[in-house]
């Protein structure tokens, strides 16, 4: 059988739209969040790359309600880089929910009759175990399995912020599913990665009809909107057609701007094994640990980079500047003797000499097994800004010799003095 005759696999990446992901501001003010570069690649390129390596993967459909023009260049680039798959962007006319969009584009997903399809949330990062998942789905002990859900272990208190999954330890059948429970159910949490069999569309069609009949939709929601978490997973439990694939691989959500520093570190670490050629290995510059530098960037030989730094296109780094645990976006320039630590610098930002831009990492608790990152709210209960990664929006000017500490600077701002623990509008 020739490859094209084989039914093959597809994938859907759910990226939602510009009014979602507000906790990612101010980074999402310039770049659509799914395209924010982490370890030098747009966030969802990591999804696409992992998917493109799955056997029989034919087509990857990106679903969201960003305007087409914001996604076109990226999609074109993906088709260019990953020749084995076709990548398309499908724009929802409005927010349809995680399952509503899939149902709306059912014909596009099912064209070519794929054997099964992946669904990946766009706002996660992981060492995706996709080969293992599809093999698990295809060789399931469960008769007529319709859904395989990826799950991972969290701490008990943190599990309440996620979808909680209970499985039969022997058969891995999904026995229970609750989204963000009020009390502890299970420390197995939903990773937002699924494999669905085509029969899932029958389930969605039934749900859709039900909703139309009962007109049970809240006024604020589109009648077409449906959610995987709410409408599919508990139904899978009821009909006994869902199963759980557990992973101990690295996985995290990307909700806040600060979480990109954590994601950047882990994707760079994966590159060190999977694509060491992507990491920066300059002979004349001192680097520490894993560093990504775009080939068009210019780094002075006396600058010291790393660990866990990503430098975007056309960035200029001056004499004796030190950068660690940070992401520097395109066209930004940094002067001499400056220090950037636990920070994200937006595009076309200018930083002076002897300037210090520093944030506080919000990494998972290192003393607890399975701890995830705490997506702290911006402000503490006392109304003070919680210390976090410092984020500088695009086109900001940070003068020489100031310190910007644990602060968020919105785009197009000319800073004139030092700031600590502030949001600068």
């Amino acid at each position: 059988m020739s490859p094209s005759a084989c039914p093959g696999l597809k994938a859907v990446i759910l990226i939602a739209g510009p009014m979602k992901g507000t906790r990612f501001r101010p980074l999402s003010l310039d770049v659509p969040k799914p395209l924010f570069p982490v370890a030098g690649l747009p966030l969802i390129q990591h999804h696409i790359e992992a998917l493109s390596q799955v056997d029989q993967m034919r087509e990857i459909l990106i679903l969201g309600f960003y305007p087409n023009h914001e996604m076109n260049d990226f999609v074109q680039d993906m088709n260019h880089q990953y020749k084995a798959v076709t990548v398309k962007y499908l724009q929802e006319y409005t927010a349809l929910g995680t399952a509503g969009g899939i149902y709306h584009f059912r014909d596009r997903i099912m064209s070519g009759n794929p054997e099964a399809f992946f669904v990946l949330n766009g706002d996660i990062c992981a060492d995706f175990p996709l080969h293992e998942m599809i093999a698990f789905h295809q060789a399931s002990a469960l008769p007529d399995v319709m859904t395989t859900i990826l799950a991972t272990e969290a701490t008990k208190p943190q599990s309440l912020n996620y979808g909680c999954v209970v499985e039969d330890k022997h058969t891995h059948q999904m026995l229970h599913y609750v989204e963000k429970p009020n009390s502890y159910i299970s420390s197995q949490i939903n990773c937002g990665v699924y494999v669905f069999s085509p029969e899932i569309f029958q389930v969605l069609a039934d749900k859709y009809q039900q909703r139309q009949r009962r007109s049970e939709t809240p006024d604020t929601e589109e009648p077409e909107s449906m959610w995987i978490e709410r409408d599919i997973l508990s139904h899978m439990v009821t009909i006994g057609r869902g199963q759980v694939f557990s992973t101990t691989n690295w996985w995290s959500q990307i909700k806040t701007a600060g979480s990109v520093i954590y994601a950047n570190r882990h994707y760079l670490k994966l590159f060190a094994q999977s694509h060491p050629e992507r990491l920066y290995r300059a002979t004349d510059t001192q680097t520490i640990g894993n560093v990504f530098v775009h080939p068009s960037a210019s780094i002075h030989p006396t600058a010291v980079m790393g660990p866990n730094v990503s430098i975007g296109p056309n960035v200029i780094i001056g004499k004796g500047t030190r950068i660690s645990e940070s992401i520097i976006l395109a066209d930004t320039s940094i002067g001499d003797h400056s220090l950037i630590k636990h920070a994200v610098l937006g595009m076309s930002t200018r930083v002076g000499h002897w300037t210090r831009i520093e944030g506080t990492p919000n990494d998972p608790n290192p003393n607890k097994a399975f701890a995830k990152m705490d997506n702290l709210p911006l402000f503490s209960q006392e109304g003070k800004l919680n210390p976090s990664v410092t984020v500088i929006g695009c086109n900001v000017v940070v003068p020489s010799e100031v310190i910007v500490l644990n602060s968020i600077v919105l785009p197009h701002k000319q800073i004139r003095h030092s700031f600590k623990n502030e949001i600068i509008l």
Binding site: G320, H337, L339, K341, R356
Partner: protein, 363 residues
């Protein structure tokens, strides 16, 4: 001629520096604070200096013995067994200040933390001219409400009265802590804890025995770190005006900078304005500093930025460090690479490995 310097106690306000050296030996502009006063006194003809101290410090005594020899004067210590305030020490040292009943030679009395262009010769001339028991020097301040102010006759300089912390403007001249007295004045003081400012001067003023002269130029009480740095800036400006050749010049120097010849400065640095660098200090490449004093033997590593700091003896400050906001490092402190120190007062022999985000004392 004789002088008495009120050295007093442990100099706790200038800790952590005074944990390693007695305050009079802490350098100001690369010279022990006390020597600024003693050398100026010697220049005005003083041959015997009495140091009124309330503690024993071997380092101070042996170092002062050497200085006495170098300057060809006598330096003696008057030890208080209990704190005697600002007047009591005069009674304790009476035998030195007035050798016999006929000794009518006036003597100087100084608060020890004062830095200025010491006007000792002018004080002597002024004192002889008015012929009364006491002369005090006054200086102008911007915010007189924080001090006790002096009200006096503008021509004669005769003091009318003192007003503590005035609520409304009455004068902007305050006592500068530099006095000259005739021995006769000693009869006013008993050997007990007494404040010269509060208990002796008002009486002398009411009897018309106290005159004041106004100080030209800068004045600062450098007894605590914040004022030490302000005084440093004033001192450097005064050097700039009087002996500009003592200041450093060069492409990486900005403003008034004093550097000991034995110090080594790297490339791509920016030093100044208002920096004093002590002997054997090493500054590596790409360092920027302003409004800072570095004491003997310290090393500042590359790319570090310092503003308003006092770095004590033999400290080591790492690379990409930022220290500011009146940070003071005691002797032999190590600051690790990439740290931020905001108003930290670090005790001697401490190695700090985490940033000091808010002003605090690091034990």
């Amino acid at each position: 001629m004789k002088a008495l310097i009120l050295v007093g106690g442990y100099g706790t306000r200038l800790r952590p520096l005074t944990l390693s050296r007695p305050k009079p030996l802490v350098e100001f502009a690369n010279k022990p604070m006390l020597l600024h006063q003693i050398e100026a006194l010697v220049e005005a003809g003083t041959t015997h200096v009495v140091l009124a101290v309330s503690y024993h410090a071997d380092a101070l005594e042996s170092e002062m013995a050497q200085e006495a020899q170098r300057l060809g004067i006598t330096i003696t210590f008057s030890h208080e067994t209990e704190p005697l305030g600002t007047a009591g020490p005069l009674a304790l040292a009476r035998d030195v200040l007035q050798q016999d009943e006929d000794d009518q030679e006036p003597f100087f009395v100084l608060n020890s933390d004062v830095i200025c262009d010491f006007p000792f010769q002018a004080m002597l001339d002024f004192h002889r001219n008015h012929g009364k028991e006491g002369t005090i020097v006054v200086t102008r301040v911007d915010e007189p409400s924080k001090y006790g102010v002096v009200i006096y006759h503008p021509e004669s300089g005769q003091i009318d009265k003192f007003v503590e912390k005035p609520q409304e403007f009455v004068s902007n001249k305050i006592n500068a802590g530099l006095y000259m007295f005739s021995p006769k004045m000693l009869s006013r003081i008993q050997l007990r804890p007494t404040s010269i400012e509060k208990e002796v001067f008002p009486v002398m003023a009411s009897e018309g025995q106290l005159h004041c002269m106004e100080l030209d130029g800068f004045w600062m009480d450098v007894g605590q770190p914040k004022d030490y740095l302000t005084g440093m800036c004033m001192y450097l400006k005064s050097i700039k005006d009087k002996h500009p050749q003592q200041l450093q010049t060069g492409p990486h120097i900005v403003g008034n900078v004093l550097i000991d010849p034995s110090a080594k400065i790297g490339t791509h640095c920016r030093i100044g304005p208002n920096v004093i660098i002590g002997p054997n200090v090493v500054i590596e490449d790409g360092v920027c500093m302003k409004r800072t004093t570095l004491m003997k033997g310290s090393r500042i590593q590359s790319h570090t930025w310092l503003d308003s700091c006092i770095v004590g003896w033999r400290c080591q400050v790492g690379r990409w460090v930022r220290m500011e906001n009146v940070s003071v490092l005691g002797e032999d402190v190590i600051v690790k690479d990439e740290l931020y120190v905001n108003g930290g007062k670090v005790l001697p022999h401490k190695s700090i490995g985490v940033s000091v985000m808010e002003p605090q004392i690091i034990m």
